[in-house]
Amino acid sequence: MPTNFLELKTADVELLDSELRTLCARAGAEAVVLLDLSGAVLSFHRIPESIDVLMYAALLASNFAATEELSKKLGVTDFRVIYHEGKKQNLYFDKVSDETVLVVLFKDSNALGRVRLFCEKSIPELARAVEGITKSPEAAGAMTQGRDAADSIRQIVESLKTPKSGG
């Protein structure tokens, strides 16, 4: 199967970044991230460098996916939102499309209603932006980089010189 690519062009990235920046300001959020449910980050705003965004994305996406699966098994339809309430900070998840979810981190001093209101206002724009991202069977020129990466791993294998491979 040729690997399918989600092609994030400069215009896509700028549009998503702009939408998240606006949402973050209006909702008074500490940070926002847009994920696809496979665990990949499409865009984020105000995530501190100290935070490992890839690891958090894997956890956040799987958290939403697991709750969504639970809702299906319970027969809950139109499942869209998860809210985690902490002592000082809260997390709000809102589904953007079948494959993407928006996650907002906000302080306890902020109102959930404010976050929810501005998420709902942003979702249609984000959904249109996500819908506009090209899906293609082979990213233009990108396969060469993928093959170069595979070569890098092979060089590591050579350097390790572990015996007993077959196939």
């Binding site: 690519f5 994030l8 696809d36 496979s38 690891m55 894997a58 697991a66 993928g146 990466a149 294998v157």
Partner: protein
């Protein structure tokens, strides 16, 4: 589905390690994490139970810088092997670009391997992925144990697509990077 971020000059592939419980999926990731330098392997996330069985998944992000300035990321996940995690296991396969099937070579685990391969086919189908064409590599692990099933027998029972296979002793790192290299080749379209 792989992601090509053009302005960031990044490619990201998702790879899942599948197989029966305790076959060595997490051990593969641990060896990779402990061997690669920090600039190539990020923090490893392990969600396991008190008896070291994967509860939901393990996650290890790798990144390789290519001479022309591109970064290529491989996000490695393991799935929980036990059958009672059926519901959560398939979720990890969402959007996957390649699968490593880690079989336990011990004779008493033969049927578990066969059942796990059936789970893989079913889980991929439920995630709208095609087992017949998805990049796949087989790893026959624990070859250092006594009473192992001959490789030819394992391969005949599990590898109906005749994809590349590797004998391994993941706890010692034998075959771990060879397997990773092969799935990277397959996911990136080198074969």
């Amino acid at each position: 589905m792989a992601i090509h971020n053009e302005p960031a000059r990044e490619l990201t592939y998702k790879i899942a390690y599948h197989g029966p419980g305790m076959s060595g999926k997490t051990t593969n990731l641990r060896f990779i994490y402990n061997t690669l330098p920090g600039r190539q392997a990020g923090k490893m996330l392990v969600l396991d139970t008190a008896v070291e069985r994967t509860l939901y998944f393990d996650f290890l992000p790798l990144v390789f810088s290519i001479p022309d300035g591109y970064k290529v990321r491989f996000h490695l996940y393991t799935v929980p092997g036990q059958s009672y995690y059926d519901a959560s296991r398939k979720l990890i396969l969402r959007g996957v670009d390649g699968v490593v099937f880690v079989a336990d070579s011990r004779s008493q685990r033969f049927q578990d391997n066969v059942e796990s391969m059936e789970h893989l086919k079913k889980d991929l189908s439920e995630m709208l992925l095609d087992y017949g064409t998805i990049p796949l590599v087989m790893q026959y692990n624990k070859r250092d144990m006594r009473d192992v099933t001959p490789v030819a027998e394992l391969d005949a029972a599990l590898n109906d697509r005749k994809v590349p296979f590797f004998e391994s002793v993941a706890v010692d790192g034998v075959g771990v990077f060879e397997t990773l290299s092969a799935i990277a080749d397959a996911a990136c379209g080198k074969r």
